[in-house]
């Protein structure tokens, strides 16, 4: 069937602000969908309230509405735009829920708008646990034994029927499994059930047989209007059942099922997908498998694009969201080409000749008192994906990608203590695999580790082999290492840093690198081609390994390497992906070949058709330097990738790798509090009294001198990590001790905290000749609440023109003094008519996309061109710097408190919000302003 011609305009619903369980993977899907539908000639109207997304860029759709995702706002837009169809499957559960609300109210039918991409009549079946169970029964698929409870009493009875604890509690209709979990002990049973009943909009919970020790799998499917179903990817959770798949370490393709077992699962998946109504699009199905018995049960179906489909897309190269969109408008799979090979059909199942490992990234340190045990409720804030030819290689690359200071799966520092290892393996924790490695170092057997962790022995054997290899490296001096031995070590993913740590000599990672490059032990790059090499591929999507043939042909063009920001975390997320995508496009417009390097599967910048070449690699010095050695780019852009990329600048500068834009030494300068204050003094810019300390005693003495309250923070951190306001000596001692236990050599910065002050965020771009202030944002909450957690208003709502001019002047002075070439963000506070500068960041900030959306100016694109040599005057002459904002734009932070019920809601200098939304208002007498204004002082605690 060719595409439908009875549809002209399609309404696309986004997923709104980022929360745990629903993150920027939906920017990836929404962007792909919008692009695919526009390419097919449809008029696309897009709604999303999240300003940090690529999908809400003006070019992504014919009409973009930055509006809240409520039934009334969607209805209003739909009445105005008169779409013929609505595609709600690209916006996560939020998009689906709002579409379903409007279906139930009869809106779509009334307006004659067709819901495409999902059978809206049957969505409810997948969400209502009991209906879902009935349907699976009907089609003959096995399930866990389970029943729905509407009261605590009923829950108790059901648990007794199931044979007692442990059981799993799953509230119905909640996002990311909120409120669910395994109950092991009687004393937590009642509170868990009660909370689940409260959290569920339908006030019901499912009591499930506990599948502890079962293996967990996910299949990603596509179905076309002709009922052809294909499986794009199989994903195996290394973390056994009981942990939310978003919090699990997963690999693709599945590794431990026989063909007969896997085909049984494939058959069941197709049957299940075909049972949930008539629709064309994507779908995700989760299964549990009991080792040894062949018992397999269906856990869940998501009839939409999901986090796992983003992962599956990046893992296989198959553009799931794009193809799902085309199926929704009538195409059948056999009519679409496989864009990776260009020559074969899209109607096939990708074959992988590599292994992909995904590891979630957590931010527990942000939430005091949080329970770190992993459960059925998702807690991760981001994830990394790594590709290697073997599991071990991809596992080590994934650990290098996490950016938590590891150079691989351990083997880069002394092993953890035996007792710690034993303790950490008892329950599912984020770092289980690291402790599995430690356990093997201590001589544990695979059987012992399996017995405790329930991790499939295949993975354990692999890690054990890694430890065996590690032990051999420990015994082999680098200078005596045979080339083949070294090559095999690199093939297993060992970084130069790990090897340097392991070999008996005292050598640096640079020495290992020099040693191996001399012997031609260098990486090769392989294409992610969907077909295991069977057909030639056209797509420039690469990963490194140590093989024999390099497939990445270097062109003679001038190149720019753009570094991404690695895994999402609080304080560094989708905003940087937004800047990277614009950076890539801008570099291309300036005539460069744009090379993108990143390891975050939830991004648009890692779509294979964004950059000229995509290197899916850890943002880890060795891996980046390997790409630089191969490609020899004219320079590297660091400013767009947040703190992650900038950290690598020091080595680039030492090695003479050109950095486009502000030099590394200047970017680093602002982190040195002493030097930065000297600059402020020279420029006669006021700043709060400050001091530095390297020990608890020193910190207390300095605080006494500065006066209380004191603002305490470690240097070189992001999102205000570890930042606290202390009101007395005891608190100073406690907080500083805490920081030093995590970062032993850190220089602690202490500021006198100015109470009841107004906080200001300024974004600017400087080309060396002039400074363009892109936006001044005034926070509604008082200074002391992290800027990421504050409600920011653009332009300022209560600052005099004099004060604003002072702000501008300080920004200009700082930009020139710091030699900024590109982006600059300055944080200031205003108290009693005086403007103080508290921080400057010469790089892309979290507010860049917000200001860009509010003003209608592609700020990161202009900034990138400035870094590459364009002047602001050129843009000014063309009128490109004119803001289209009338009234005010308000940036509202969004939190994920419901995922951490044990953590008290409080705000302070450490950022805790996970996302944001934007609202445009004409005056300040509206709810968007008044509500946060009234509550502005409520949560400031420390």
């Amino acid at each position: 069937m060719p595409k439908r011609t009875d549809i002209e305009t399609i309404l696309l619903i986004g997923s709104g602000p980022i929360v745990i369980g629903q993150a920027c993977e939906f920017d990836y899907s929404g962007s792909q969908a919008a692009r695919a539908l526009m390419d097919e000639g449809y008029r696309v109207v897009l709604v999303n309230s999240n300003p940090a997304t690529i999908m809400t860029d003006p070019l992504m759709a014919d009409k973009v509405y930055l509006r809240e995702l409520t039934p009334s706002s969607i209805a209003q837009i739909a009445r105005k735009e008169q779409p013929d169809a609505v595609l709600p499957t690209m916006g996560g559960q939020t998009g689906l829920n709002v579409a379903q609300d409007l279906k139930e109210s009869g809106f779509w039918a009334e307006e004659g708008i067709e819901v495409i991409g999902v059978d809206i009549d049957t969505v409810q079946i997948t969400e209502d646990r009991q209906q879902f169970r009935d349907l699976m029964d009907e089609i003959g698929l096995d399930q866990s034994r389970s029943r729905t409870a509407k009261s605590l009493l009923e829950a108790k009875e059901i648990t007794q029927e199931l044979g007692g604890l442990p059981v799993v509690i799953r509230p119905s209709y909640t996002l990311g499994g909120a409120g669910g979990g395994i109950v092991w002990e009687a004393d937590t049973f009642e509170s868990m059930v009660t909370r689940g009943l409260e959290l569920s909009p339908a006030h019901q919970v499912l009591i499930d047989e506990c599948l502890f020790g079962w293996k967990e799998y996910e299949l990603e499917l596509l179905r076309d209007p002709n009922d052809n179903v294909i499986i794009i990817a199989s994903i195996e959770n290394v973390t056994p059942m009981g942990v939310h798949t978003g919090d699990s370490v997963t690999v693709a393709p599945q590794q431990t099922l026989t063909d007969k077992q896997f085909q049984k699962m494939r058959d069941a998946a197709i049957k299940a997908m075909n049972s949930i109504g008539t629709f064309a699009g994507g779908c995700n199905i989760q299964f549990a498998y009991e080792p040894g018995t062949d018992r397999m049960i269906v856990i869940e179906i998501n009839p939409r694009v999901s986090r796992s489909s983003a992962l599956a897309s990046k893992a296989t190269g198959y553009p799931i969201a794009k193809v799902a969109s085309k199926l929704a408008i009538g195409y059948t799979l056999d009519e679409l080409p496989n864009e990776i090979t260009g020559d074969t059909s899209a109607c096939f199942e990708p074959s992988l000749d590599y292994v992909v490992t995904k590891i979630p990234r957590f931010n527990f340190s942000k939430f005091e008192g949080v329970d770190e045990e992993l459960t059925t409720q998702m807690k991760a804030v981001g994830e990394v994906m790594a590709i290697g030819r073997t599991f071990n290689e991809s596992l080590q690359k994934a650990w290098q990608s996490l950016e938590i200071g590891y150079a691989g799966l351990g083997a880069d520092r002394p092993d953890a203590d035996r007792s710690v290892v034993r303790e950490r393996l008892k329950k599912p924790y984020w770092d289980n695999l690291l402790h599995v490695r430690h356990a093997f170092r201590y001589g544990a057997s695979v059987e012992e580790v399996h017995d405790v962790t329930q991790i499939d022995p295949w993975f354990l054997h692999q890690i054990q082999a890694l430890v065996e290899q590690e032990n051999k490296i420990r015994e082999t001096p680098l200078r005596e290492m045979e080339d083949r031995f070294l090559w095999e070590a690199k093939r297993a993913g060992f970084s130069d840093e790990q090897i340097a740590y392991l070999v008996p000599e005292d050598v640096s990672d640079r020495a290992v690198r020099a040693h191996r490059t001399e012997r031609d032990v260098t990486p090769t790059y392989q294409v992610v081609d969907t077909c295991a090499g069977e057909f030639p591929a056209e797509t420039p999507y690469y990963y490194s390994s140590y093989e024999t043939v390099n497939e990445s042909a270097v062109t003679g063009r001038e190149k720019v390497l753009i570094l991404g920001s690695g895994p999402n975390r609080i304080g560094q997320g989708i905003e940087f992906d937004y800047s990277c995508v614009h950076g890539v496009k801008a570099a291309q417009e300036m005539g460069y070949e744009a090379l993108m390097l990143n390891c975050n599967p939830e991004t648009v910048s890692t779509d294979f058709d964004v950059a000229d070449k995509l290197y899916f690699e850890p943002v880890f010095w060795e891996r980046v330097q390997d790409v630089i050695d191969l490609e020899q780019p004219e320079g590297v852009i660091l400013q767009l990738g947040g703190q992650t990329a900038i950290k690598l600048g020091e080595r680039f500068e030492e090695d003479g790798v050109h950095i486009f834009g502000t030099s590394y030494s200047k970017m680093d300068l602002v982190e040195d509090r002493g030097k930065f204050t000297d600059i402020l003094k020279r420029l006669e810019i006021p700043s709060p009294p400050y001091g530095v300390a390297h020990s608890v005693e020193e910190a207390v003495a300095t605080s006494d001198e500065l006066g209380y309250p004191t603002l305490i923070r470690p240097s070189y951190v992001l999102g205000g990590e570890g930042m606290r306001i202390a009101i007395n000596r005891d608190e100073v001692a406690e907080y500083v001790d805490n920081i030093l236990s995590i970062y032993p050599d850190n220089e602690i910065l202490l500021d006198r905290f100015l109470e009841d002050a107004i906080e200001i965020d300024v974004d600017a771009v400087c080309d060396g000749e002039e400074v363009w202030i892109t936006g001044i944002m005034q926070h509604i909450e008082p200074a002391g609440v992290h800027s990421g957690d504050s409600t920011a208003v653009l332009p300022p709502f209560s600052l005099s023109e004099d004060i604003q001019e002072t702000i501008r002047q300080y920004t200009r002075d700082l930009a020139f003094e710091l030699g900024v070439l590109g982006l600059l963000n300055v944080q200031m506070i205003v108290k009693d008519g005086t403007v103080y500068v508290i921080e400057a960041n010469p790089r892309a900030s979290r507010t860049v996309p917000f200001v860009a959306k509010a003003s209608g100016i592609p700020i990161p694109a202009i900034a990138t061109k400035v870094m590459l040599g364009e002047t602001l005057a050129t843009f000014r002459e063309r009128g490109d710097l004119e803001s289209s904002l009338t009234g005010y734009a308000i940036k509202e932070p969004v939190f994920s408190w419901d995922k951490f019920p044990e953590v008290p809601k409080e705000l302070g200098p450490e950022m805790k919000s996970t996302g944001e939304s934007i609202a445009f208002v004409d005056s300040l007498s509206v709810e968007e302003f008044e509500q946060p204004y009234e509550m502005k002082d409520l949560y400031l605690s420390r």
Binding site: I230, Q263, S351, D456, Q526, G533
Partner: protein
Amino acid sequence: MSSPTAASDAAPATLALSDGTVVTGTAIGHRGLTGGELCFNTSMTGYQEIMTDPSYYGQLMMMTQPHIGNYGATDEDMEADAPMVAGFIVRDFTRRPSNPQADETLDTFMKRHELVGIAGVDTRALVRHIRSEGVMNAVISSAEQDPSPLVQKARDWPSMAGRELASKVWPEAPYTYCKGDGPRIAVYDFGVKQNILRSFCARGCTVRVVPGHTPLDDVLDWDPDGLFFSNGPGDPRAMPDAIARVGRALKTGRPAFGICLGHQLMSLAQGFDVYKMFVGHRGANHPVKNLDTGRVEVTTQNHGFAVDAESIAPDAARVTHVNLNDDTIEGLEFKRVPGMSLQYHPEASPGPHDSHYHFDRFLEMVAEERGLSLPEAAAEPLTVTA
């Protein structure tokens, strides 16, 4: 299950191609020397089924999935009594599998069946090499390691083109595989996969398996309701006797069904041409479109020869299935005789089950032609092979 240590098994092995390419790795399975046509399979599961598929007789099989051996070996996954490939090439060999139902490790299995293999080689580079240079012969040696004599051996190895190999793998004598209430199916065995027999058996047929050279009259004496021509190894063009016998069989008017080699033999018998492909199809993800329904099946494929579309006389057959990747012929329905044939493997094993319906299609044809009704119950297996 034994867990051999890496150290004792780290014996070297060499893979030498006839074009002079030589790669080194680690010996797996039996120690010795073996040779054959180097081919690759992109299926991510089912290494044991692939290893024991008689169609692969005489070939060196290279798996593109990097980790092989993960779930060990079991009797259940046998497609023949023993491995049929001549040698086995993998990127990373799992010596310590994980599968409570496994009978042994893949290494033990290979040793028991004296199958020579090599691990640790860059399989992707070799796949791309074959893709651009075409299939070629090679040898694997875990004995002699000197490259030049090995390359010479690869060059001297007999070419697959023009070779009849089916007689090496068909059974010595006819036997009845299972007995049921359904149609009587005579299977001409040129190297039949067990799952084809199981598929007929599951549908209640009585299945009689005869070696590929069995005279037609002997088969007709058994009075079969349907004739089946199996898959198998080698060049179908080098099997004039078989082609003639298939031709005569088709003329009897008994419904006939051919898979893979059987499909090619039926085509040759009807006067169509068969050619050797530059690179064959071997994997479990090939899209095949059913031209009658418009539906697409994800299929298991294993063939190095194909029927030339141009050579099909319009009054002799019509194309029912095509490959969406390269438009090659995947299915035919014959017009002058009651018969159907498929280039791919509806029995899967390994691979997706999308095409199982062809067995029903054939049996419906048989039922109609012979005026039978099809049974509900599965047949009872008489010989447990494998």
